[in-house]
């Protein structure tokens, strides 16, 4: 029996290439990989389970810690260390594969920046190997510190630009930008020749611009991808404790309060960031204080991320679970929580009835295997998930329980429990959380899940028309926006449904680490409001715009794409 055939080197790893295993055969069908290409693949390599999606390990290794400005040079240690600890929770598996941890270079992976004008994000290596003109660096850093949250859009734009203008003059910025672009393209050409194990020594930041108009997005935003790579000490790559600050590829703001630990970031981050975050938090608090929260305003504000402190309440409001009127909130919560437990009382015993035992059995089987995250594996949490999913399923017979829905409970539960714990969520022992608190979290998670699913139920009804339609829209959009990718997939007979089905079915839950999903859902909440008011018109475009980010990532997953670009 011949062994799996993927030639030497990164072979085994390639086969496990993430969920779009189509790429396996693309690879086989492809000419020998050049070094850069392999470098890109390795971006996704390293961890045990070859699912970068929720394998926090990969992401930690390959992207900068979330919630942290990409370019923060020093003082990251603590956060990174705690990121290391946090990783325990996000990663899907701690398994290591021999030979799968590789030095990574050439990780140009454009994240999305919805600003119309490019924003330069500079990553300063922890251990610069090439001296850089101090003046430029500081200037650039200054600029970066004012603009690294540029993914945030909305009403703050003007303020942002003003901040940037204050500390920089445009010429310097543009000069730096050009330099960066030049360096980047130069290095792109050099990379394939870099010897194995050599990590890009160029400390200059690579910027790779690629405008992706978001089509008919309601606000006409453009997505701009900014890719960055940077120097890393090889030790970083080898050391688990020091996740690589590598490249950011997804549409989360570099400073948006993504990570649960945004507090510690406040403590460590440059003053400008703290100021800005404090400002944002204050804005949220003002809005939430009432007496009637302007949901429209809240929605706008949430687009660019919700500060951790106010995320639970904001999600509850934007999902339509809580009323905008402050005085009515407490009562509503009580009533709904009671109502949920009445459901349990009424229905949960029926899980072993003939009519429902299949549903229950499926849920019961799926929860332990949906992730190895210690949180969910705690018996109490498993039970909570089972109850939430079972009650939802039997109360929605048109779809019932469909695999994938189980994934959608997690963000709610995690966000709501974070409100009541001091430690990091992966360390929490749920049995230490008071029973009453846990019950409320359960009820809140149920209702928010319910609200979320109300809007996308046709994803889960017979033949899953909602998903089919969204995948078609995605295809159409990619065809229009990135014809090369589209053609490439087409040539290789890769059907969108083959890779994008799960994106839609699990709302990207399996394509990225949970904390990214949480951040993404800050923006999804907006969609829910759309759903309640304008059911279909905006939904697809908005969602697809998010998915486009993934599509871009996919292009890199089909690792030959960068070469196609160069040609």
């Amino acid at each position: 029996m011949s062994p799996p055939m993927h030639g030497g080197g990164a072979g085994g790893e390639q086969r496990r290439d993430f969920r779009s295993r189509e790429s396996n055969f693309l690879l086989e069908a492809e000419a020998p990989l050049d070094a850069e290409l392999r470098g890109n693949r390795r971006l996704r390599g390293g961890g045990g389970q070859w699912r970068p999606a929720r394998d926090g390990q990969h992401w930690h290794r390959t992207w900068p810690p979330l919630g942290r400005g990409i370019g923060q040079p020093e003082g990251c240690g603590e956060t990174m260390a705690s990121d290391g600890a946090r990783r325990q929770f996000w990663k899907r598996s701690s398994h290591r594969l021999p030979g799968s941890i590789q030095h990574v270079y050439g990780a140009q992976h454009p994240p999305f920046d919805p600003l119309v004008h490019g924003t330069l994000i500079k990553t300063v290596p922890k251990t610069p190997t090439t001296p850089v003109k101090p003046k430029r660096v500081s200037t650039f850093q200054e600029f970066e510190s004012n603009t690294s949250d540029a993914w945030d859009v909305g009403e703050d734009d003007d303020e942002l630009l003003a901040m940037a203008a204050e500390s920089l003059n445009t010429e310097v910025v543009m000069e730096t930008a050009n330099q960066v672009i030049q360096n980047h393209s130069r290095r792109c050409q050099e990379q394939p020749r870099l010897p194995e194990g050599h990590v890009c020594g160029d400390s200059e930041q690579a910027e790779h611009f690629c405008d992706l108009p978001l089509g008919t997005g309601s606000d006409g935003r453009l997505v701009k991808s900014v890719s960055e790579s940077h120097t890393s000490h090889p030790a970083d790559i080898l050391s688990d404790a020091a996740p690589l600050q590598r490249s950011q590829s997804l549409p989360y703001a570099s400073t948006a309060p993504l990570a649960y630990g945004s507090d510690e970031k406040n403590a460590l981050g440059p003053p400008a960031l703290t100021e800005r975050e404090a400002y944002r938090l204050e804005k949220f608090r003002q809005l939430l204080a009432g007496p009637n929260t302007d949901l429209e305003e809240l929605r706008k504000l949430s687009w660019s991320g919700i500060p951790k402190q106010v995320r639970p309440i904001t999600w509850k409001l934007l999902s339509g679970y809580l009323p905008a009127n402050v005085d009515r909130r407490e009562g509503t919560l009580r009533r709904k929580q009671k109502e949920y437990f009445a459901f349990i009382e009424q229905y949960y015993d029926s899980r072993n009835d003939e009519a429902h035992q299949d549903t229950y059995r499926q849920i019961h089987i799926d929860i332990p295997r949906m992730s190895p995250e210690t949180l969910i594996l705690q018996p109490k949490v498993t039970e909570i998930f089972e109850r939430i999913l079972f009650i939802w399923a039997i109360r929605h017979p048109a779809s019932g329980y469909v695999q994938g829905i189980n994934d959608l409970v997690t963000p709610f539960f995690v966000v709501f429990i974070c409100e009541h714990i001091e430690e990091e969520v992966e360390n929490v022992d749920v049995s230490c959380v008071p029973e009453e608190v846990l019950r409320n979290i359960e009820a809140d998670s149920y209702w928010c899940l319910s609200k979320l699913l109300d809007g996308i139920q046709d994803n889960y009804t017979f033949a899953q028309p909602g998903i089919q339609m969204k995948v078609r829209m995605l295809e159409e959009l990619v065809g229009r926006i990135d014809e090369q990718v589209h053609r490439h997939l087409d040539q290789h007979e890769v059907k969108y449904l083959q890779f994008a089905f799960r994106w839609m079915n699990n709302l990207l839950m399996r394509e990225m680490p949970l904390r990214c999903t949480v951040r993404l859902w800050d923006t999804y909440q907006e969609l829910l409001i759309f759903l309640q008011n304008l059911p279909t018109a905006h939904w697809g475009n908005e969602e697809v715009s998010v998915l486009l980010a993934e599509a871009y990532r996919l292009k890199f997953a089909f690792a030959d794409a960068p070469n196609h670009y160069k040609k």
């Binding site: 011949s2 799996p4 055939m5 086989e28 695999q403 007979e493 449904l497 083959q498 089905f501």
Partner: protein, 213 residues
């Protein structure tokens, strides 16, 4: 020598939810048993080469399908373009065995006008103490449908290679005898990348295949 394949076979793996389809495939393609396996939604794709005779390689494209009923409308689209299939049941779950018939019916409807060569796989044979389906009755059912029967364990790597290669050989023989032919518009069987060269020399260098993109 860079590998090239004589033929590419597309296989589909079906069976009830949680009988172990994905784990079996991953054992075969990745050589390991995943401790945790997310429920498959829609379909997943894997591939591997097998050498059925010295120098004769077949590339297997393996479609992993979701077992849950709701995904049937997605997964059934893959029957038509498959030449072979592994129909799995879990030997510790009698119900999954009873559903074998339904699965065959389901495929029959959707595969036409083509045919799928199936092998019946009794999975999780390492859990012999919890067995609910005897080997004998499974063999009988398989014979009734003209299928081979094999018992496998992804966890203990029992018969995993054999299940796939036996099926591959069976299909290969049918192809050689002309009972299965390559057809335009059908993905079940494809010939190697450089058909003219394949039979005379399998030493085709990989870079020759650059033309694919």
């Amino acid at each position: 020598m860079e590998a090239i394949w004589l033929y590419q076979f597309r296989l589909i793996v079906i069976g009830d939810s949680t009988v172990g389809k994905s784990c079996l495939i991953r054992r075969f393609t990745e050589g390991r048993f995943p401790q945790v396996s997310d429920p498959t939604v829609g379909v997943d794709f894997f591939s591997r080469l097998v050498e059925i005779e010295p120098g004769k390689r077949i590339k297997l494209q393996i479609w992993d399908t979701a077992g849950q009923e709701r995904f049937r409308s997605i997964t059934r689209a893959y029957y038509r373009n498959s030449v072979g299939g592994l129909l799995l049941f879990d030997i510790t779950n009698r119900r999954s065995f009873q559903n074998v018939h339904e699965w065959l019916e389901e495929t029959k409807v959707h595969v036409q006008p083509y045919q799928i060569v199936f092998v019946l796989v009794g999975h999780k044979c390492d859990l012999d103490t919890q067995r609910q389906v005897t080997r004998h009755e499974a063999e009988k059912v398989a014979a009734g449908y003209g299928m081979k029967y094999i018992e496998t364990s992804a966890r203990d790597a029992i018969n995993v290679e054999k299940a796939f290669t036996d099926l591959t050989r069976e299909i290969y023989e049918l192809v050689k005898r002309g009972e299965i032919t390559i057809q335009e518009g059908w993905e079940g069987v494809k010939s190697g990348f450089v058909p003219n060269v394949v039979h005379s020399s399998e030493e085709v260098v990989k870079s020759d295949r650059r033309c694919l993109c």
